[in-house]
Symmetry: C2
Subunit: 152 residues, 2 copies
């Protein structure tokens, strides 16, 4: 494993990163919705106008997936990452529309180096997903990273 | 809005539903991963063998998206649904492999009819996603449904 990759020790509590930009197209909103979330407000302009979204918007799961893509490109594929086990408290705050350009800002909240797993550590992070003007979604995840030095 | 659709009043605390089956293919795991989670353990058999997944497995976000598809087909598109605002405590417990057949079991945990929103109510649900033999993922969500009778 290359030393140039980010390891558990390289993350600092309070550290912030910004990833993106990710341009959201109508075609991609439709494509994801047809496959995974075929509700009218993600697939039909007129139905969407009369929905809680007040216009066509991406599936919330699609928003999380786009954020993931930004972090894989910008962080995880440059890290000695070891996977993730879940996500807490995902909030879909505002609709994500065709033409929006997203970015994801991440802050390191906590680090845990368990005694039972001396090769890895957990890095708890808050993900805030913005469009041009507003926070549109957020969640917390705790991915695993390999340690440079084996813990005791 | 047709009365045949499920409304807020039709859900009972403790009620259980089962949705699926959903056949997971290698091609679909690759397709989702190329678009949204291009980490080696979702895209490369050899890299996956040496990862925490010990073999090729679907992105956790893909697992959530497949569960969503099962619920849209089986529940939300048969309901007077009004959207959702997030997801709590998603856990990716076991790898989802090519050839797995998934189902999603849902239990109604709580119902909330807010005074401030007399047309809708919140139905908190736990989603448990199983393969042939094991629980592979779970999360909690609180979708909105329209009320048959306007609350006071």
């Amino acid at each position: 494993m290359s030393d140039e990759l980010l390891h558990f020790e390289d993350f600092k509590i309070g550290q912030k990163f910004s990833f993106g930009r990710y341009e959201v197209t109508r075609e991609e909103i439709f494509e994801f919705a047809r496959e995974y979330d075929p509700q009218p407000h993600h697939l039909d302009e007129d139905a969407a106008k009369n929905s809680i979204m007040k216009g066509l918007g991406a599936s919330g799961w699609h928003v999380c997936a786009m954020a993931m893509r930004m972090l894989v490109d910008g962080l995880f594929n440059k890290s000695a990452g070891a996977g993730g086990a879940g996500c807490e408290d995902a909030r879909w705050l505002k609709p994500v529309r065709p033409g929006d350009v997203l970015r994801t800002e991440v802050e390191v909240l906590e680090k845990t180096a368990p005694r039972s797993k001396p090769d890895i550590g957990f890095v708890k992070m808050r993900w805030d997903i913005f469009n041009q003007t507003d926070l549109v979604a957020s969640f917390i995840s705790t991915p695993l990273f390999k340690r440079r030095k084996r813990g005791t």
